[in-house]
């Protein structure tokens, strides 16, 4: 029987395993050095905040795997010999495969800052990172202040986590406004204010110079590059992005760039070896407007869905449909459908509306030549994926979208609706433009 071995029990690895099981009775083994069972990485923050316990973040009951004949192996793969199709484990044992799927995810970036390996300095990616944070910052007596370096999605989550335990947080963001490489100006500015409303010490246009150590090799402070200001702290969170977790492949024949290079069918340069999820890099560059490496939950899952078909004898390309994503900035939910770039590109314009309470806004991007609707960012208002997906496929124009926005509303019943207000603002803008 063909033995499919999957390295990585994250969303990508687990999705491919589940779908292979649905379509075949191949032998399946999932390997992970991190945890015994699949858990939701996106929920790590809620464990620290006490909303859930670790076991609640496991999407399947422990009995699920046996019932579906998916074998789980805890262990860290050190080397891969693709000639003999053998995996060598750090624990000393080895495993043979017929088909190999690499779904090894990411690791936090470190940019060579002085002091980045001190005790108390950490990223937030794995279950182990969470345990470390629990040790480093159990409460605001043990941790008087934390500094977070890097203004992305994980950075703001970490700020929220520490804030939930009343630990004062200084948040260093290199850009002059939070996440403005992705978010248009109005949105980014609104989030800046929201962060400050949560009493988080947000420092924009601020870079880290170095992390200073006390006599025990523990962080005692950080220094800011621009001002040389020294800030005393007990924990430093490094959240300046992630990159593919592929160091262990360096000795293998598998071709890598920043990530594991794959074609549209998610095949690597070696037959029967595939890569999906955060660790995969599209060899020919990003698909459509997408980046070559897509490090989000949804794309990992979609790659898993597609690859399972290929492995089960129905060669299938990874062909994602319209882009979508979501996140939450403290109390403000964010969803996006289609493409809204931080600055309108050529022949593009943005329409921006913000509610006076400063917690809700939308930005709609459209083509200025033919008025086609290209995408929407929505903050504090939930919208329907299905409706926007359809409108994008139908290439609706912006007027249509603005007039029918109510159809896309997904807020709970009895919520106040803003479509009329938005439409009014939109019409006014057209008249003055």
């Amino acid at each position: 029987m063909e033995h499919v071995v999957i390295i990585g029990n994250g969303i990508s690895g687990v999705t491919v395993a589940r779908h292979i099981r649905k379509n075949s009775d191949k032998k399946i083994t999932i390997i992970s050095g991190e945890t015994d069972y699949f858990f939701s990485r996106t929920a790590l923050m809620y464990i620290y905040m006490g909303h859930m316990k670790f076991e609640h973040t496991q999407p399947y009951e422990n009995s699920f795997w046996k019932k579906n004949k998916i074998e789980l192996k805890k262990g860290f793969v050190e080397t891969i010999d693709t000639d003999t199709k053998t995996l060598q484990f750090a624990e000393g044992d080895s495993l043979q495969y017929d088909t190999l799927v690499l779904a090894t995810g990411s690791k936090p970036n470190k940019f060579g800052w002085p002091g980045q390996d001190l005790k108390g300095v950490q990223g937030l990616y794995s279950k182990q990172d969470l345990d470390t944070l629990e040790e480093n910052a159990p409460n605001n007596k043990a941790c008087n202040r934390a500094v977070i370096v890097g203004g992305g999605l994980i950075g703001i989550e970490m700020a929220e986590m520490l804030n939930s335990r009343s630990i004062p947080v200084t948040f260093l963001v290199r850009e002059n406004s939070f996440w403005n490489g992705v978010l248009p100006e109005g949105e980014s500015a609104m989030i800046n204010r929201h962060i400050k409303n949560h009493h988080i010490d947000l420092r924009l246009s601020t870079n880290l110079k170095e992390i200073k150590s006390d006599e025990n090799g523990r962080v005692k402070s950080i220094v800011i590059a621009e001002t040389d200001e020294e800030i005393a702290c007990n924990v430093v969170g490094l959240t300046a992005g992630v990159s593919p977790n592929i160091a262990f492949l360096k000795t293998s024949n598998i071709e890598t760039g920043r990530g594991i290079l794959v074609n549209r069918k998610l095949e690597t340069n070696i037959p029967n070896v595939y890569a999906i999820g955060d660790c995969a890099e599209q060899r020919e560059g990003g698909i459509g407007e997408r980046r070559p490496i897509e490090a989000v939950w949804y794309t990992g899952r979609m790659m898993g869905e597609a690859l399972a078909q290929t492995i089960c004898g129905n060669p299938t390309e990874y062909k994602p449909a319209h882009w979508f994503n979501s996140a939450k900035f403290l109390d403000i939910e964010y969803q996006t459908y289609g493409w809204v770039f931080s600055k309108p590109r050529e022949n593009e314009a943005h329409f921006h509306w913000k509610h006076e309470d400063d917690t809700k806004c939308i930005t709609v991007c459209y083509n200025t030549v033919d008025n086609t609707f290209l995408g929407i960012n929505t903050f504090g208002i939930r919208m329907r994926h299905e409706v926007f997906d359809r409108w994008l496929t139908e290439k609706r124009d912006i007027d249509f979208v603005m007039q029918h926005l109510a159809q896309a509303n997904f807020d709970p019943e009895f919520y106040k609706h803003f479509e009329k207000e938005i439409l009014l603002a939109y019409t006014n803008k057209l008249q003055t433009a």
């Binding site: 969303i11 649905k22 939701s40 996106t42 929920a43 809620y46 905040m49 006490g50 909303h51 859930m52 316990k53 609640h56 973040t57 999407p59 009995s63 629990e134 040790e135 159990p138 409460n139 605001n140 007596k141 043990a142 939930s164 335990r165 009343s166 630990i167 409303n197 939950w297 949804y298 899952r301 979609m302 869905e305 597609a306 299938t316 062909k319 994602p320 449909a321 979508f324 979501s326 996140a327 939450k328 403290l330 109390d331 939910e333 969803q335 917690t359 939930r382 919208m383 329907r384 994926h385 299905e386 997906d389 496929t393 997904f410 807020d411 709970p412 019943e413 009895f414 919520y415 106040k416």
Partner: protein
């Protein structure tokens, strides 16, 4: 987790004061319980209830109003009281003891036996009871008052906790209203209408059969019939509620119209019980147990009610419109037609185990009906000591034995002692989930004939688990959401908290057409459209 308590969880000085205020109020009740005689009972009762309510209000304002609007679940799994810690267990024991005393030893609360004046705790409530109904208090009046106070005070807390969420606020305002008006004030005032030749039974209009298991007991039906037009109106209204109003509303809005907007049990669960919602068991085993348990209780409740009614129809037939056998046959025919209809029209939606279960429970019920028609239950004597380890020495007729056992086992032990006493252990809806026969009936309908569903938002779920964690009914909401499948479950009470806590805006409770309500998927929205077409059609 770590040994050190995370600091944010230590409460503020103001909150400590608020707690102390509430505790002083409780202390007055406890002192009364231990027979301290308060000089002016009305004043002390007012002070006590005022302090309890005031304390809760102060505490909640301090907890929520200084923070921005949003989800307030920080530390629920760290706090001893809400994570089955020592405090949780202690509270569970206190509540359980309270319920046992309330149901079985009301004399310890000070109930005056055989016309004697009330003493202790119950006497403290006499002034209020006299004000409302003109009668002295009973243990049920004390319980009803505390119950209402709990729903009001904790309802306020819940509304502050969800002050960004209008669905939660309206729903809570609704249960607060129905509890205060329908369960508490109106029935007490109606008791004032009673005179020597006119008497209505205590009637909480919204409390229908089978939740109200004594709805059709002979004494009650007689009282209604004797109470002229008004009584007859209420009796007919009760039947119309069961067969017309409730099915209609459940069709339009799901069973939430009752369970989380109107019902008193639900009202307490959603307000005072909110802190325990995460404790319900989400496992598959618990779900299996739930299905057996809740359907068995329904059968038990139907059989008991039918036994009780058919017995008095048997020996008192000239008083009613029905005779015993006409009654039994119509029930049998009704159930048969209902089941046949479901099995035929909904055959695609029922899996094997649902199919088998339905047939099994049906056969069991019909067997009882046949049994009742051949025997005169009032002639079969049952000695309760065999079933109660000798505690209860009485001998009952078969029908009243069933009735007594149901009242004891389901009415008191299950819905009261376990249902509420075990909040801090089993979560706040153990009774609603495992026991309530009314929830079963509406649930079957919700699953098969209702426009209500929880819609999942395309491919947006990140499997975080907040929804499942907050589901008081123990539904593994995530299991559906991460497959992009709508949630259509008989047990869902539509509390909407799963939707509220979802950080990615994935869940929406809504009423829409029946078509496509149940939508199992292979591949989620957002992936290759051809692949979706190919797989989702199979």
């Amino acid at each position: 987790m770590s040994l050190a308590t995370p600091d944010a969880l230590n409460i503020t000085t103001k909150q400590k004061l608020a707690l102390a205020t509430g505790l002083v109020g409780l202390c007055i009740l406890v002192l009364a319980l231990f027979n301290i005689n308060f000089p002016n009972r009305a004043v002390f009762l007012a002070i006590s209830l005022g302090l309890i309510t005031g304390g809760t209000i102060l505490y909640s304002r301090e907890a929520y109003l200084h923070k921005l609007e949003g989800i307030k679940n920080d530390g629920v799994w760290f706090k001893s009281i809400s994570s089955r810690g020592v405090l949780g267990w202690a509270l569970g024991v206190v509540l359980t003891v309270f319920y046992i005393v309330l149901y079985f030893y009301p004399q310890y609360l000070g109930l005056g036996v055989d016309g004697a004046a009330n003493t202790g705790l119950i006497a403290l409530f006499d002034p209020l009871s006299n004000l409302l109904s003109g009668n002295n208090a009973s243990q049920w009046f004390v319980y009803g008052t505390l119950y209402t106070v709990a729903i009001l005070a904790f309802g306020y807390k819940f509304m502050l906790k969800y002050r960004h969420n209008r669905y939660q606020q309206l729903r809570t305002a609704s249960v607060m209203f129905f509890q205060t008006a329908f369960a508490f004030v109106i029935p007490e005032l109606m008791a004032r209408l009673n005179s020597d030749d006119f008497s209505l039974p205590y009637n909480d209009l919204k409390n229908m059969w089978p939740l109200n298991y004594y709805a059709f007991d002979q004494w009650r039906v007689d009282q209604f019939i004797n109470a002229q037009t008004v009584g007859l109106f209420f009796l007919i209204l009760g039947v119309v509620m069961i067969f017309v109003i409730s099915p209609f509303l459940t069709y339009k809005y799901g069973k939430r119209w009752y369970c989380s907007w109107v019902c008193g049990c639900g009202g307490l669960a959603e307000t005072a019980g909110d802190s325990f919602r995460q404790l319900s068991d989400k496992g598959v085993k618990a779900w299996k147990f739930e299905r057996w348990m809740i359907n068995s209780v329904l059968v038990f409740s139907v059989v008991t009610t039918v036994a009780v009614i058919s017995t008095y129809l048997g020996y008192d037939s000239e008083k009613y419109w029905f005779t015993k056998n006409v009654f039994l046959i119509s029930i049998g025919v009704f159930l048969t037609v209902l089941l046949a209809g479901i099995l035929y029209f909904k055959r695609k939606e029922l899996n094997k185990s649902a199919f088998r279960g339905a047939i099994g429970f049906y056969v069991l019920t019909i067997a009882f009906l046949i049994f009742f028609s051949f025997f005169d239950l009032s002639q079969i004597k049952i000695n309760a000591s065999y079933f109660s380890f000798g505690i209860n020495q009485n001998t009952y007729n078969f029908d009243s034995a069933l009735r007594t056992f149901y009242g004891f086992g389901i009415g008191s032990i299950f819905s009261g002692v376990i249902g509420t006493g075990f909040y801090p252990i089993l979560g706040n809806r153990a009774w609603c989930r495992m026991g309530c026969p009314m929830a079963t009936i509406m649930g079957i309908q919700q699953r098969l004939f209702s426009r209500f569903r929880i819609t999942t938002n395309g491919g947006q779920c990140i499997s975080c688990g907040n929804c499942s964690n907050s589901c008081e009914m123990g539904i593994d909401v995530r299991a559906y959401a991460q497959k992009g499948e709508n949630i259509v479950r008989s047990s869902c009470v539509g509390c909407g908290v799963c939707s509220a806590v979802c950080p990615r805006g994935v869940l929406k409770l809504e009423n829409d057409s029946m078509d496509g309500r149940i939508n199992p998927t292979e591949v989620l929205l957002g992936n290759d459209v051809d692949l979706m077409d190919l797989l989702n059609k199979n």
